[in-house]
């Protein structure tokens, strides 16, 4: 079983994320980290490999420095990493990103393509559906429990209404929720070993992608204007010294919420 896990490097700046005032794009100049919920997808791939054998390859689309974050996946146990990186790719939106990623994935012909739940920088939680469409493969999303039996996958998931069980033949695209597992920490041996694992950086030409379908020219959405959000009012945060309940009730009463 060959499993491709799609992962993303995101800024490791927590709430201090900011937009570049010139390009209106996310400022990615600081430290990068592997997107937190992608780690669940890597973990799930490793568990499938441990049970069924095969290979785990992490695939990413981003600037060359994203390789640093891919090494974390290698340290956890992934076998190799593929980074699609090209200066012409900056500013890609969903349609452009899904096109480039699908091109890279076609080259791998994985039995199973896994995604994590949500990118912490764009808050996007949809890329898997666009990639499944481009690959013309069945999709199961929000999966909190995954079973594989040779030729098919069965995912248990949550929706607004309860639990669904969805089955699909392989090859398939599956997006996992962060409830699916508790990811392992890379061991010291894993971290050392990651340095000698194969990594590939591929240009758009390498994956056979048409340059005008990626980056700003391939994108179909645009940022027109940035503004501060509507004032939320002052936020109050207190440590309970025994009087927090009284203070809170007074505050609620003052806002006519009781």
């Amino acid at each position: 079983m060959k499993i491709a896990v799609c992962v993303k490097q995101v800024p490791d700046t927590g709430p201090a994320r900011k937009l570049d005032p010139v390009t209106n794009r996310l400022d990615r100049s600081g430290e990068g980290a592997l997107n937190a919920t992608d780690v669940n997808a890597v973990e799930e791939a490793l568990r499938i490999k441990e049970a069924h054998g095969g290979e785990v390859v992490v695939v990413s689309f981003g600037p060359t420095r994203a390789l640093d974050s891919l090494r974390k996946a290698l340290a956890m146990g992934a076998d190799r990493a593929v980074l699609i990186s090209d200066e012409a790719a900056a500013g890609s939106d969903l349609v452009a990103t899904s096109y480039a990623l699908a091109k890279g994935l076609e080259r791998e012909s994985a039995d199973l393509v896994l995604f994590g739940q949500q990118a912490s920088d764009s808050d996007g939680a949809v890329l898997w559906a666009a990639v499944a469409e481009r690959l013309r493969r069945p999709l199961v999303s929000q999966v909190a429990g995954l079973e594989i039996d040779g030729a098919s996958v069965t995912g248990k998931r949550q929706t607004e209404f309860g639990y669904d069980v969805i089955s699909a033949p392989l090859p398939a695209v599956v997006a996992v929720s962060d409830a699916i597992n508790e990811p392992r920490y890379p061991s010291l041996k894993g971290i050392m070993g990651a340095k000698s694992k194969p990594t590939e950086t591929l240009s758009l030409a390498d994956i056979g992608a048409e340059a005008d379908r990626v980056g700003a020219s391939g994108s179909r959405t645009t940022v027109l204007e940035l503004a501060p959000p509507p004032a939320k009012g002052d936020q109050i945060k207190i440590e309970d010294d025994g009087s927090a309940a009284e203070q809170l009730v007074e505050w609620l009463a003052g806002r006519k919420l009781l």
């Binding site: 808050d123 499944a132 999709l139 199961v140 999303s141 309860g162 398939a172 027109l224 945060k237």
Partner: protein, 319 residues
């Protein structure tokens, strides 16, 4: 300008979120039509007329029975072509997010998500979305048509106007790969108490309540405030509280006047289900919990001390 609104339905009723988006689309103007996809949905489609839309397209058949996204991409592609729609709008949900993104790839169309408002500017649709943890409000647009948008839960309320809708059925044969995934089982729980979606006050509990019995604190406080009790995905998955009370990305989206979070860390998956609440209060012993970033009033402290006292004081004040 012509706009299609995807009307998601469950148990014979169009979802409140979809009707909210429909109301906003009608208010913004242009030709607005609805789309209902399923099996035996003519009646559901006609029911949208009461919310002011005059035309509803249906794609109807056994291939569209299960609420799976990929056959719906085929359905919407056909309806978009038949209607010449320039804008296609969805209320965010587990199902609709996957349809919207699949459709964007199919049509090579732009998708903006987490949209909280739409407008027409120079004859073109624009949208607003908060970004970077709601620290910036971005006006976004599209460079081609159709323009696809996923609207954040709770952004718009349905408006019941009365009226009738003409229903037009569009025949669609789904593609082979679209029907490869199959719904094997659905375990859908119906809510027993009052729906948390309609409550003015919600007291929600998370892992910080410690045990299933810890939910008594939430129930007691909710009773004092005349509110409903909600729960996070983690505690619902652990079996502490019923599924129908779950708030978050894979649960309900709520927008009460007052939301009190007890022992909830405030992960993004929870936040998306309650961020449009009027006032957010958080009580948590972890001073670094993300919920304090977006709570209006945060208490760092022991729930077992603060919550019962709060319930007592509320009862005393209400007399």
């Amino acid at each position: 300008m012509s706009t299609l609104v995807f009307l998601e339905h469950h148990g014979g009723a169009i979802q409140k979120g979809s009707l909210g988006v429909l109301a906003r689309a009608l208010a913004v103007g242009g030709d607005v039509a609805g789309v209902v996809v399923g099996h035996g949905v003519a009646e559901v489609a006609a029911s949208a007329g009461a919310f002011g839309v005059a035309t509803v397209y249906t794609v109807d058949g056994p291939d569209f029975e299960a609420p799976l996204p990929q056959p719906r991409v085929d359905a919407l592609e056909a309806v978009a072509a038949a209607s010449g729609a320039e804008n296609i709008l969805f209320a965010a949900s587990v199902l609709s997010a996957d349809i919207a993104a699949g459709l964007a790839a199919r049509l090579d169309a732009g998708l903006n998500w987490d949209v909280t408002d739409i407008a027409i500017d120079g004859g073109k649709l624009t949208a607003r979305r908060p970004a970077l943890g709601d620290t910036v409000l971005v006006t976004v647009g599209w460079t081609s048509t159709p323009r696809i948008a996923l609207v954040r839960s709770g952004s718009f309320e349905p408006v019941e106007t009365g009226g009738t809708a003409a229903v037009h059925d569009v025949a669609v044969t789904p593609r082979e790969f679209s029907t490869a995934a199959r719904m094997v089982d659905q375990a859908h729980e119906e809510a027993s108490g009052p729906s948390i979606e309609d409550a003015d006050v919600i007291v929600a509990g998370g892992r910080g309540l410690g045990t299933p019995e810890g939910f008594r604190l939430a129930e007691e406080l909710a009773a004092a405030l005349g509110g409903a009790v909600a729960a996070t995905r983690a505690v619902v998955d652990a079996g502490w509280y019923p599924y129908s009370t779950q708030v978050g990305q894979t649960g309900k989206s709520v927008s009460p006047k007052l939301y009190i979070a007890l022992g909830i860390s405030g992960a993004i998956q929870h936040k998306v289900g309650m961020q449009s609440s009027g006032t957010i209060v958080a009580i948590n012993k972890d001073a670094n919990a993300p919920i304090f970033d977006f709570a209006d009033f945060g208490v760092v402290g022991d729930l077992n001390a603060v919550a019962p006292k709060l319930a007592d004081l509320v009862r005393a004040r209400k007399g």
